[in-house]
Symmetry: D2
């Protein structure tokens, strides 16, 4: 499990005083990019195809959140992460999510096979 930490910004809140539902996708995105960069991969040929997220409790201004990322599966042209977002201080579960990413050729505008290099990087331990 790879863990990425985010701090809630004031701009992440909405008028209900809690983190807006859309902003959690930004937290997942930051965790996902850190996961990829930590394995020497880039994000340039990866596109998000699907997100599911369950909001379990509210997050507030200044909360530190741990985004725990697990690589669930690597298919021919896509791969799947699952996430738990936890309040760092209390361990309280804030959200659970899954995302599907597709290896994408922006010029051809279509999904392409995950090559061996990316496949190896996705499956590797964090190296930096």
């Amino acid at each position: 499990v790879f863990v990425h930490r985010e701090t809630v910004r004031f701009r992440d809140l909405d008028s209900m005083g809690h983190v807006n539902n859309a902003v959690f996708l930004t937290y997942l995105e930051e965790a996902r990019i850190a996961f990829l960069f930590g394995r020497g991969a880039t994000t340039e040929s990866i596109i998000v195809a699907r997100v599911e997220i369950d909001y379990r409790s509210q997050a507030r201004y200044g909360d530190e959140l741990d985004v725990r990322v697990t690589l669930d599966a690597i298919g021919r042209s896509s791969f799947t992460y699952s996430y738990e977002v936890l309040d760092t201080a209390s361990g309280r579960l804030v959200a659970q999510a899954k995302t599907v990413q597709v290896h994408f050729d922006y010029e051809q505008n279509k999904a392409v096979s995950i090559d061996d290099d990316l496949r190896a990087k996705l499956a590797s331990p964090v190296t930096r």
Copy 2:
């Protein structure tokens, strides 16, 4: 089916030059609020519990998007919408989504039954 129109802002794009995945949740939110306001309901006691979204094609700067909202079901304390996001000009499907909302008591910090008034409003035709 209720239709809400959004125009893509420059700030909605990310460095890939397309609308960022998180921003679609903002488009869904705008459509949902317009749906509720159009039926005389408010958003104050409603919280998003779950989102699933499938990204079908990319949206670009200045695109006008139609967010088509269908109320799928009303349960004891929750209700479900499904959405289609279409490019207005071409009719191209951009995204499909489902969201679950919970009738929520922020003071008690828990889900509460949907009262008859809200139930009637959710099921009513748009009145304004």
Copy 3:
């Protein structure tokens, strides 16, 4: 004076229930891009060098705002806009701003002279 209309989104609010100060720069940006596109210019070689903004009154959810843009001056490599943001319904002044844009060569990473083509477009009436 060129006028661009924006509608306040829920995500534009912060926990004070009004449009967050940073979001006004997004409204100015949308108006500025519409100004350029309406004259056949693009935004690719233009970078924002300075913003000043005075917040005159609060904007709320669903407000329609008119952003009135005036081209104040065109210099050798920069040009200046001034703006008034008004509540469309009431005419109430919401904000006043000035921005300085620089004609920028991203490859050389430096300001470059505004060529005659861009100069003519900036000074032209809206053509589309």
Copy 4:
């Protein structure tokens, strides 16, 4: 001088691949809130009245930025900060800014005098 550190998120970028101009106001806001909280003050009765910002160089994904905040002046009902935003790694100047905040009574919808308690807190050293 009070220093607050921010990390650039992917969502902070625009399609030019650099931090969008509006997002810098979010960085200033985070620094300002940290300044106030560190002195036992809150943000509830403070509203931003004016911002000026000069963009000096571009910020990129993953950059760590130090926002250096100086309290310039405290008037009857307003106070002024100046800021320098620096790239932490290189010390490069990214932006300079000034903001004016007003002590605001949201119920009366008008500026009110800065009371002795807030005045003392603003002028105090960081205590937590």
